[in-house]
Symmetry: C2
Subunit: 130 residues, 2 copies
């Protein structure tokens, strides 16, 4: 199939710098982090408020895109499963989904809660929780 080209809309700034430090899911003790949005996209943030609940979509740029089966939660005692029935970051298109809450907004920088994405992770999109 033909290739799709994405340009990140921003980047994660976090104290998490490698996968060994990161919890498996945001609600498992992940820290708050800043999202630095591209300044030319400021209009797309209009109406965002502290306290909003958002779904952040990121690109796991350190994932292995050739992996098709994994042991869920990296536990070798669990049977191998297809990556489409797990939340493994290793998958053909490693897009991360992160439910977060807006903690602060400073221009095009937005601080969010509970983000397990690593420092430098590209941000692809942001949507409100429905």
């Amino acid at each position: 199939m033909s290739t799709i080209a994405l340009t990140p809309v921003g980047r994660v700034e976090s104290e998490l710098i490698d996968r060994a430090m990161a919890p498996k899911q945001g609600h498992e003790g992940a820290p708050a982090a800043w999202i630095a949005f591209e300044p030319h996209l400021a209009a797309a943030l209009d109406g965002m408020r502290v306290g909003d609940r958002l779904i952040l979509l990121t690109w796991f740029d350190r994932a292995d895109r050739t992996t098709l089966k994994v042991h869920p939660r990296s536990n070798p005692a669990t049977p191998l499963q297809g990556v489409f029935v797990t939340r493994s970051p290793d998958r053909p298109n490693p897009i991360g989904l992160h439910p977060v809450e807006v903690l602060a907004i400073e221009g095009t920088r937005v601080r969010v809660s509970d983000l397990e994405a690593l420092d430098g992770t590209p941000v692809l999109d942001v949507k409100p929780v429905i």
Copy 2:
């Protein structure tokens, strides 16, 4: 920022053929649809079962990627808002999030409920609901 290249993992086969036909959200009367996954990714589906609840990630290939503000739900009476606080398909990286239920599995073809994506829409990823 540098560009990210994605290759779709499959494609939507639906009776919805244009945006005027599609409901705004899957739970607003969207039909069931087939997802035709790439045959070489069959292993990534291992363990999927009828009744599973999944989040399907699609690429709204007919969206306008230059739009930064919209009237929510296309209602001109509502104030313009940044696309990152709306679910508009028009946005810089038009990735769709679709909560669906698996209705049938036939090899690498998976039938899912309540999908508002149009026929031919590329599928980027699939994850279980947590």
